[in-house]
């Protein structure tokens, strides 16, 4: 009998074949359609979430003063450079006056001449007055003599006529004086106008501020209204923020915000919403708002810098909440996968607001305390078996 030897060989063969079969069964159950899907679960809890809104904006100056001439002309000088701080009423530059100064000099001469003319006219008035008074006296004296019958009627008539002539010439001198005065006023006004025009060629800072741009240099010809120097008020920096219209419900003035400037990543600055613009951007489908800093950073951010703005909305009433990774759309319906007695069931839900950490309000279809699937290794379907794990394969803690 050779049983022992046969047994030994049989055992060796079995030692190879049995593990192979076991492996095959393992492989068939652990991969392919029979394998359970590893999932992680969480318990839906009832809590209040505070949605937040995230937008991006650029820093802008609330007031930008574009200073330039009111008529076309050539720039004579520009006194300031970009970055200079200027005071209100400070001279920033000047346009070339061309012949304006000469015209003012001519007006000066004309003014002096007109003043002389007025003096002459005044002297003439005085002279006419003296003549008039003498003729008046003579006339009244001869009237008395006529009553005493000492002079003839004809002589008296002559004196009366002399008086009337001097009276007329006095009126003429007076009118002449008035004319000379008016001429003087006209020339004064003309000259004043020219001086005003001359002053208008000066580029003056309307407020205290910072020179943000110097658009033209001396010698350049600019048209009326073109800016030579731009002045901004650095204290008035704000952020022009754009929010996606999908989530802006609840955005209103006064809400606190956190601002992160692109140049200072990781540093959060506090601010608040100043106003929500009544006009939204129809092309980009964004709602616009203005956000101001609570306190301006010591080093002023540059105008045009990108800023990320997170608006903190007020907390919502308590509802069941679920992570947004657990809310899925299956066959056109939004819902969550419930775990009931280790079996999967798809429960359609109605979702509400979302916060930035990914928690979604479940308004209908889920109760606090129910167990739901958060992550899964594969897409789920009701008949698939699942295996609940702490963490999915390949995901580091």
């Amino acid at each position: 009998m050779k049983f022992p030897s046969i047994n030994r060989r049989m055992l060796a063969l079995l030692a190879v074949v049995v593990p192979l079969l076991a492996l095959l069964i393992y492989v068939a159950l652990r991969s392919g359609p029979l394998a359970p899907i590893p999932v992680t679960v969480t318990t839906a809890e009832s809590r209040s979430i505070a949605p937040a809104l995230f937008g991006i904006g650029t820093i802008e100056a609330r007031f930008t003063y574009r200073i330039g001439p009111t008529v076309a002309g050539r720039i004579k000088r520009v006194e300031v450079q970009v970055g200079d701080k200027v005071q209100a009423r400070q001279l920033l530059g000047e346009m070339d006056p061309v012949d304006l100064d000469d015209r003012i000099a001519a007006q000066d001469a004309a003014l002096r001449r007109a003043e002389a003319v007025v003096l002459v006219a005044e002297a003439q008035v005085r002279e006419a007055l003296a003549r008039k008074r003498y003729a008046e006296n003579q006339a009244s004296r001869y009237e008395q003599l006529l009553e005493a019958r000492s002079v003839s009627e004809e002589t008296v008539e002559g004196k009366r006529q002399e008086f009337q002539v001097t009276e007329a010439s006095f009126a003429a001198a007076h009118a002449n004086l008035e004319g000379a005065r008016q001429e003087l006023a006209r020339i004064r006004a003309d000259r004043g106008g020219l001086i005003q025009q001359r002053a208008n060629l000066q580029l003056i800072a309307p407020v205290r501020g910072l020179v943000a741009a110097r658009n033209a240099d001396p010698g350049t010809t600019v048209v009326a209204g073109q800016s030579v120097v731009e002045v901004i008020d650095p204290a008035s920096l704000w952020i022009h923020v754009r929010f996606d219209q999908l989530r802006v419900s609840g955005l209103r003035a006064g809400l606190p915000v956190q601002i992160v400037l692109r140049s200072q990543e990781g540093k959060r600055l506090a601010g608040r919403v100043l106003r929500v613009e009544p006009m939204a951007d129809a092309v980009t489908e964004e709602t616009l708002a203005k956000v101001v800093f609570d306190a301006l950073p010591k080093r002023l951010p540059s105008v045009g810098e990108l800023a990320e703005v997170t608006v903190m909305m007020s907390a919502l009433p308590e509802t069941p909440v679920a992570p947004n990774a657990s809310v899925q759309r299956v066959a056109g319906r939004l819902g969550v996968w419930l775990i009931e007695d280790d079996k999967l069931r798809f429960a359609p839900v109605k979702v509400g607001a979302t916060d930035l950490d990914g928690l979604v309000q479940i308004l209908d279809g889920l109760k606090a305390g129910e167990r739901i699937v958060v992550y899964s290794q594969r897409a789920l379907s009701p008949r698939r078996r699942v295996k609940i794990v702490e963490r999915l394969e390949g995901v580091s803690p």
């Binding site: 192979l20 392919g32 929010f243 980009t284 759309r329 995901v395």
Partner: protein, 400 residues
Amino acid sequence: MISLAGRDILHSWGKFVLTGLGLGLLIGVTLTMAGVYRGMVDDAKVLLDNSGADLWVVQQGTLGPYAEPSSLYDDVYRAIRGMPGVNRAANITYLTMQVQQGERDVRAMVVGVVPGGPGEPGQPGYLIAGRQITRGHYEAVADIATGFKLGERIQIRRNHYAVVGLTRRMVSSGGDPMVFIPLKDAQEAQFLKDNDAIAQQRRRTAANPAFNRPGTPGLLDAVLASQSVNPYINAVLVQVKPGFIPEEVAEPIRRWKRLQVYTRVQMEEILIGKLIATAAKQIGMFLVILAIVSAAIVAFIIYTLTLGKIREIAVLKLIGTRNRTIAGMIMQQALGLGLIGFVVGKIAATFWAPIFPKYVLLEPRDALLGFAGVILICALASVLAIRAALKVDPAEAIGG
């Protein structure tokens, strides 16, 4: 009744098992090749599944957005949303590019999705860690195959993104893992020029007297602003209302909006029939040759194994064993070998499939087909061997 085959196998069990192992590895390679082919097709299908769309609206006259470039204005979706039967419409952009993460970069398909909440078309269907995108800018959900981890910062063109979620099996038709970012950022990444190009373009425009007239201040600014807009997307994904047939929703859009619309069936046809056709045929051809070669090798091994025992068979015939018994022995051995080979092959393929860089899909149907094939080939090969064995002259047992 003593099993002749069993006795013979036990007699030289080492040889038998080793031959079976070798055969198994060969079958494993064949199964894997079938898996590579299936994986390729599955990559294309999963791309369509993941988009969550019933209809793809693309530029007229193109096979976009996967097989050909397609470019639409980003407000087209508003008009589509108003069409009958449309339940949901969402803009989407696709761009395959290198995504930077620290020192290394990963080839990925960057998908721009509307961060409109859970279940919107285009968003990843399920996650394995983290959360979906909640901010309108600078967040990303990446496929785990990219190697990115939660909380890492990645760079796409000029901007940095925080990885907030991880997903799985979200790949392009070429097998590149996907990175989902908000649509507005993706539009920027796709159509925005680099800073140097922008600066040069501004300088060029400023030097052009037609755009920089002294008498028209503000014209240059307006021209520059108009040069840096990017209101384009690649496609609009549409989900149809329950009760509507996708084709009857697609037709009015084609007709009245003058855009190309593809249904799921058409899209599959484009992806599998056109986009990956050549690559798939290449793999398929290789699979066919490998299957034929494997069959030939299996047949030859069984044949030579039998020829190696020809002397013992002659002895059996000499002692008057019936032909049926001898044929049965050879047949049983061949089938046993085939069985071991298949088991080893299936196990090997399952264990090495996940190591492949691209997806290898081992379908149970393929495994069953393979099993049937192996058994059939073993049976056929054993017929050859049986013929040789039966023809042997019993005299050879003493002659030799």
